[in-house]
Symmetry: C2
Subunit: 462 residues, 2 copies
């Protein structure tokens, strides 16, 4: 392609300003208080796709938040790339830990990002990475270099499980027909170590509720004589891991894919410093399943984490109360071959079975998705690899991510096409955390790399 | 005494209205947001004592909330009764579980209180029970029947540990000099089973904080690879009880007073229905330390309960996060001979020692107090027993309460006088819980019974 760097350099400030405007809208899909903002964001995305050169853009209503669909078909005989992304974001809590308001983006320099990084909820996950594709499209159309057909499908419910997207995909096979799916919603190992994500973990997210007495009780008058729902909940949760940090749910590991010595040796080659890892988190030791390395624990092994817990008096000072109820949000990251719905049922059955007398336990499945693996010999992976090599000057490393994009395995099943995960974020970008940010360098590099994928994918498809 | 019932019947409506006005002020000492309300309540109590006939009433400033002191000395040669109570109340959370606003008192009939009960935070604990003494005083002074000297000491920090009251008591031995201390801040077994509390449990209240990574993390990218503070906290708390629900803190039971077979047999005579107990709480089974009955578990045995726990995302929907910190408020009820400060140190030492690598643990002692036992052969107990016998028509039963009034043991130590606990509340009054209430019958009965204690204590002191 001609003059990518030149075009991007010329329009860099506008590319930043447009993203910042998008980040100002608090499109938190998990909290209904933000409903209008989520809907406004869909409109903004539609407008940006029209400006970027799509011939046809529409807002497709669903039972939940709408999906923005756009396309430009230049020749039925050319391959079609389907770009997926999401315009919703994670909740910003705990707000008090943000150094600047989560929906008032600011660009600040950091050690890792001397060129500056955009600080805002969604800066990286996924507004920033999604918008790289919109700007890459603008470059290709405005310079008449779009080499193939393109479709965009940008949803607003990724952070809450993409429940309605799956229905949309099942009902729109023709509309979404494509030769490869392209997603930037993952990360790369480091700015000087480009990588392509070849695996994702599945997810099962549940909420549990333990109920004891029918009302809060005085801990002096009842303490020690009735089951305290909080004490019981801690015992139940603690029992979900054994002394080796293996998960104790019967059947949980039955379908877990065991990697070969060779595959684990290959993984171990990825550059990784345990000291730097611990230092970046201010921890004196790592923790996890016995027999596996840190990078294995967060990629090829399934895990169970409490994401939130609450019960009783959590205000200032002291209250000598025994709460009637205690709650927890628990998620399990799954690996290929573990079926998320089956795991959810195994969890429910087990958790209810370990409830002691004196309490009632309720397990509410939230959402989930299957894991995914893509082979590195596919056309799409080869095209992505060449694109990175040209733009970064070095061959990218294939890596398994610990994250989940529930929809990816469904795409393959419904649309019979492979997904290529070209992520430009860094683990240190603090996605899902206070002070989420996305490097200006990474944002620009993404916009420069994506058109090359279009080029090589079209060439290799001939 | 002459015409107690007649006087009380005549002024009943006013007695109720005055208490309701007092209950309208949200004097929550645990939450600084209510500071002005707590101070206003002290003023209201001062005014009520003046109206009730005290010769001298003052508001004594402390490092925290003030203590209202009032007295009427009629003859140096007569005995002096010191009445203690508190005008602060527990927080009202969880507000949403109240059937009526906690600080807008309403009188409603219940199965146990067909004459109606006053629903409001503090109705029983302790504004209602404290105000019985103010009205009993009014009766005795306005009918010229006060048989002895009386002093009032009403504090505003009982629900947060009475830290400043202890200093006040230490510095005012002469001012507080008395022959017996009278408190109504406990309960009785049932409306037709009057009882006098002869024992209280001590208390140690701590807050714990577990810190893992220096920021909230994405549970996909870090899940299973770093210590999750919430999972760790649940493991640590769960380990504080063994399979028999014995507390595992080394040295915790060293000084626990073991009751004799005879004493336990005596206790077992108190009327108690396990079925009714379970039914009133909607639980299918009780729970607690192996080898002890329900009434023993909540009176003569020490216990450990989590009063509050929080960490991570507790909002609507799902957030796949690993929290940087997790917290819990934990209280231990102690029995006579267990020193609360020593137990607090044992807890701190043990809890810090069981923290795994990868997290930091902070234990913040909140407050506490010693347990207490009063002999039933004392003058005060005998006088109280006669008072109940005359007003209820039956002899009261001595009982140990599971609750704590940290200040009682300090009174004995500093003022060398015994405390008599004449409680008129019921366990079902839901103190410290939503919908706290106090029976109109109990309130009136208390006002009728208290003057008889003055009468008999004075007679027996001759």
């Amino acid at each position: 392609m001609e003059n990518i760097q030149g075009y991007v350099a010329e329009h860099k400030q506008r590319f930043l300003n447009e993203l910042i405007e998008l980040l100002k809208i608090p499109s938190v899909s998990a909290d209904s208080a933000f409903k209008n903002d989520v809907l406004r964001t869909a409109e903004a995305v539609k407008f940006s796709l029209e400006k970027a050169g799509c011939d046809h853009v529409e807002i497709c209503e669903t039972a939940g938040y709408p999906i923005v669909f756009g396309e430009k078909i230049i020749d039925e005989n050319l391959p079609t790339i389907l770009v997926y992304g999401h315009y919703d974001v994670q909740p910003a809590d705990p707000i008090e830990l943000w150094n600047s308001p989560p929906f008032e983006p600011v660009i600040l320099k950091t050690d890792i990002h001397p060129e500056g990084a955009i600080f805002a909820r969604g800066a990286c996950d996924d507004k920033g990475q999604m918008y790289m594709h919109v700007k890459a499209m603008e470059f290709m159309t405005s310079t008449n270099q779009l080499p193939c057909n393109v479709k965009f499908m940008i949803e607003g419910e990724e952070e809450v499980g993409s429940v309605n997207l799956s229905t949309f995909v099942k009902n729109n096979h023709d509309k979404l027909k494509n030769d490869v799916i392209l997603i930037s919603d993952t990360g790369m190992i480091a700015k000087d170590v480009p990588s392509i994500t070849t695996g994702l973990r599945g997810l099962s997210y549940v909420e549990v509720e333990v109920t004891g007495p029918n009302r809060d009780l005085h801990s002096g008058l009842y303490g020690g004589a009735v089951a305290n729902p909080i004490n019981v909940l801690t015992k139940m949760i603690a029992s979900l891991h054994d002394e080796n940090n293996h998960i104790t749910i019967p059947g949980f590991y039955d379908n877990v894919e065991e990697l070969s010595k060779e595959e684990r040796a290959e993984m171990a080659k990825a550059p990784f410093s345990l000291d730097a890892y611990k230092k970046s988190l201010d921890i004196d030791a790592v923790y996890g399943e016995a027999g596996f390395t840190t990078n294995e624990r967060n990629s090829i092994r399934p895990t169970l984490d409490v994401n939130g817990i609450w019960g009783g008096y959590i205000g200032e000072g002291a209250k000598t109360v025994i709460a009637s109820k205690a709650f927890a949000k628990i998620s399990m990251r799954l690996v290929p071959n573990q079926d998320w719905e089956e795991i959810t049922q195994l969890f429910k059955k087990h958790f209810e079975s370990i409830a002691p007398e004196g309490v009632n336990v309720l397990v509410k499945p939230h959402h989930g998705g299957q894991g995914y693996v893509t082979p590195i010999n596919s056309l799409g992976y080869q095209a992505a690899s060449k694109a990175y090599e040209e733009s970064f000057g070095k061959k990218p490393i294939p890596q398994r991510s610990g994250g989940s994009i529930p929809i990816v395995s469904l795409f393959e099943q419904e649309l019979q096409s492979k997904t290529i995960l070209m992520g430009f974020g860094l683990d240190s970008d603090a996605i899902h955390s206070p002070n989420e940010h996305f490097g200006v360098w990474n944002y620009i590099k993404g916009i420069e790399t994506i058109p090359l994928f279009y080029k090589y994918f079209t060439e290799l498809s001939k």
